[in-house]
Symmetry: D2
Amino acid sequence: MNYDLILKEIQAEIQELFSQGKVADYIPALKNVNKNTFAMSLNLFDGKSHHIGQVDQKFSIQSISKVFTFSKALEIYGKTLYKRVGHEPSGNSFNSLVQLEHENGIPRNPFINAGAIVITDLLISRYNGNSFDKLLNFIQQISDSKNINFDQEVATSEKEHGYRNVALVNMMKSFGNIHNNTKEVIDTYFKLCSLRMNTKELSRAMLYLANHGIDPLSKKEFITSAQAKRINAVMLTCGHYDASGDFAFHVGLPGKSGVGGGIVAIIPNIMSICVYSPALNEKGNSLIGTKALELFTTKTGLSIF
Amino acid sequence: MNYDLILKEIQAEIQELFSQGKVADYIPALKNVNKNTFAMSLNLFDGKSHHIGQVDQKFSIQSISKVFTFSKALEIYGKTLYKRVGHEPSGNSFNSLVQLEHENGIPRNPFINAGAIVITDLLISRYNGNSFDKLLNFIQQISDSKNINFDQEVATSEKEHGYRNVALVNMMKSFGNIHNNTKEVIDTYFKLCSLRMNTKELSRAMLYLANHGIDPLSKKEFITSAQAKRINAVMLTCGHYDASGDFAFHVGLPGKSGVGGGIVAIIPNIMSICVYSPALNEKGNSLIGTKALELFTTKTGLSIF
Amino acid sequence: MNYDLILKEIQAEIQELFSQGKVADYIPALKNVNKNTFAMSLNLFDGKSHHIGQVDQKFSIQSISKVFTFSKALEIYGKTLYKRVGHEPSGNSFNSLVQLEHENGIPRNPFINAGAIVITDLLISRYNGNSFDKLLNFIQQISDSKNINFDQEVATSEKEHGYRNVALVNMMKSFGNIHNNTKEVIDTYFKLCSLRMNTKELSRAMLYLANHGIDPLSKKEFITSAQAKRINAVMLTCGHYDASGDFAFHVGLPGKSGVGGGIVAIIPNIMSICVYSPALNEKGNSLIGTKALELFTTKTGLSIF
Amino acid sequence: MNYDLILKEIQAEIQELFSQGKVADYIPALKNVNKNTFAMSLNLFDGKSHHIGQVDQKFSIQSISKVFTFSKALEIYGKTLYKRVGHEPSGNSFNSLVQLEHENGIPRNPFINAGAIVITDLLISRYNGNSFDKLLNFIQQISDSKNINFDQEVATSEKEHGYRNVALVNMMKSFGNIHNNTKEVIDTYFKLCSLRMNTKELSRAMLYLANHGIDPLSKKEFITSAQAKRINAVMLTCGHYDASGDFAFHVGLPGKSGVGGGIVAIIPNIMSICVYSPALNEKGNSLIGTKALELFTTKTGLSIF
């Protein structure tokens, strides 16, 4: 398939959508991005990659970090992980406290904020105060790039405006589902959300999930095949908050979006993908990113359905 | 792949589970089944099929009928269907009224009871009093079997004990989302749930969904390729009520279960499957059926993830 | 106190409010009333009564009937009644299904629709098919008027549009909290709601609740003193749906409103009151009726607080 | 009426209940109380008071402090207060986050934790960092006792275990309904909860609410008559969390309980009351305290209903 041509067609077709959507503005540090940016990267198993747009432009990965922390925690804890976080769609918005209260502080899945906060707590329990560095190291490894770090301004800004997330961590602590200091947990969570990467790095980083847990280039096994299958299933059913059904419906790929405008996705056994465009639709997912992926599966016929 | 051998292995491995689970007993007519029954059928695109167990044993298809009514309604109404029923996971049990109340009588998806009742209402609006016969005819056509009918005793029993479903249809009527007589709608819905089929017929009936809407044997196009893709996506995210995430997680296939003990599933571009065993797990899905499908995807490596 | 003067002042002060509020229009039969009507009646223990406005004008008593059915059921069943209906404020709108689902079909109190439907079911269990006549007879007795009946057009109209109430009765039946035929229960409930009375009759009918369960004129004891105290407490905390707190806050009297525009209230040991004006505020209670009662307690200083 | 005799009878009748109920144990500092304590005090308008039991025993007033902060905030802000906190029963437990989320961070009433936290925030806005001292001074004034202070151990313990309350204040901050620093607000709130008083002081402190806002002994007007009427109405409908209906039902007086085992109540125009006994019923209110008040209104006939 001529992926370069397909990417060019997609780039042309999404132009008319630049006027739509709205950049995340809940923290000042996220607002100052160029709304008219578009970038898309594909990585194949033979080492080839295809790119279009501003693929070197770094952006805040936000909730995409949840894929990497889930991977690492699953590698460490295995199935015992699921005693502290579920793997069902929530049917609610990403930071709802209602379900958490009804379900005794056990979040529905690792891709809503509460779930990722519990995952962060689990990693802190293992890494003893060194957790952010260890996770950054893991992300640098899978993306084959040393040039990744977090944005201090965004992390600070999240902390100053993230009262809802502070409410979540304290609520779970009251149910006994947070074992470490709430401040340390939430600070580490915010730092992970504020990591800056570009579509090249993110697409590369997802390759192991398209290939049963093994990076097809370095041959390193990051997680088991069974674990990769489960992470992909959870991405499909829960990766886009309460628009997960809609994403499965229109795009038909396991994926995860971030409020910074990035979306990662995989086509099992074939490739990994990352798309970036900062304006969001009313569900909080990249408007052009979602459309680009829908166009991609339609043009290539590569949906999993 | 030696499917016959794989089916034999599965049959052997599920034997020890016959002591577990519980047959649906909310209506007397469903209770009287042999708990130790197991049957599994596969249909391939070349006309070949593989079977094991009591594959001629008819059973109450219950919610599996929702796949066929959704197909037919989507063919008739196209995307306008989604004005009256969504395509998001509900995150709640199959007959919850809570979400319906918060969301103005628009059910989350066509696979929860409320959604299937709206679909029935849409079909009645089109077929003018002849809807059950028309739908039965459609199901006979896709399953290539004239020998299918509904169970009067089950339908009557559902009516006598289905107060929750009567509550659902009246609640939606109060929101204006039921256009026909509530009694006619609910009676037709109960008749469709009480259809009796065996795994041979059900597996055969699902073949068009594995093949982009076209029956690979008769070459007849029942729905468009885009519609088949969407039905499969909704089966994956919503096909097993509030265990949908769990089913995607363990089995990794688009599927739909019924409280009578049947589960249908498809592997896109490869085959359709039906499994039957009446004892249910605590989420209301066939316990052995779910396990058999998990074993099948593990043994064949044929999950979509 | 010069009650006639106070009533005149109130009548003068509410004139400017006739332009506000909205007559109930969920059934056609309720819409056709004169929005500019106002009537208020007081009954004292010495047999004296005071009236102003169109006090002979009959109107649909609607939920005010819940006070009388609660009284009768409490007389018959005593405390065992509370196994099937609670006595806590619901914090929700009058016909919510959410709470009912979370609380296994036990309604919060006898003054929300679900609670009154259970009360009707209890009375049918006792009266064997004769329940409406028995209750009508009780209401005629306490109001000292034979000239009371139900409005066939309203009752029929309620049945044709009352899908939400049909949903409620079926939901509770599914939980086992309705013992009789759902159709008989809901028909009787609708007939009781469609009774027509005027403020003279309704104020007179409430006198026993102001006097510890004993009609001060006929000396007949309808319920015990303890039962009267409890009914008054429930009227105060639950008598106005999710505006009960607001009514206690502004008026400070045990009372019960109906969507037909009537409100009954009592001042313990002193008097009973009924006010009528059909335009409703946004909470579904008579706008002018609520204001008139607030003016009355302010002018007389007769709040219970 | 011979109040001393009545208090003696009550003391005798509650003896058999000492084996029941459970002392609050969510913080260690509250656990160490003598379960078999009982004390009850009445204050009349002529300066007379009646006491029985360990009336000099200080205890943690906990949520009873909400009555005094509500009074002070209402005096300062008047009706504008109700833009930030409602006056409706919540129908939920005292620290639920669900309703808060559905209602945009506006708590239902000043007597649930969220509501009292908003009231604390309002007082901090006015007092500029001096709020606890100002409020302590007010409480010393109305109880005519300088010998009142907070318990440092309890306050610290609340802080260390009060994750749910920290969740509440952060959630409301995320909705913009907390204007000051969350840490300052919650620290002040916890200090107010940890005030230690005895039944003599608390009964004396409530006298102004029984007398239209004016202390009948010092003649000082703390709040207006209309404000006192409203606080009493809110105590009746919301003073006992989701057992408020039950308290109105059994006791029939405006009152407020604290998890430390105290309950204050008033009989309008007649007296104020405080009762103390630390073992709680399953709703979190003093088991013996509730029973003692029920006996008191039954024996004296002094319910407001």
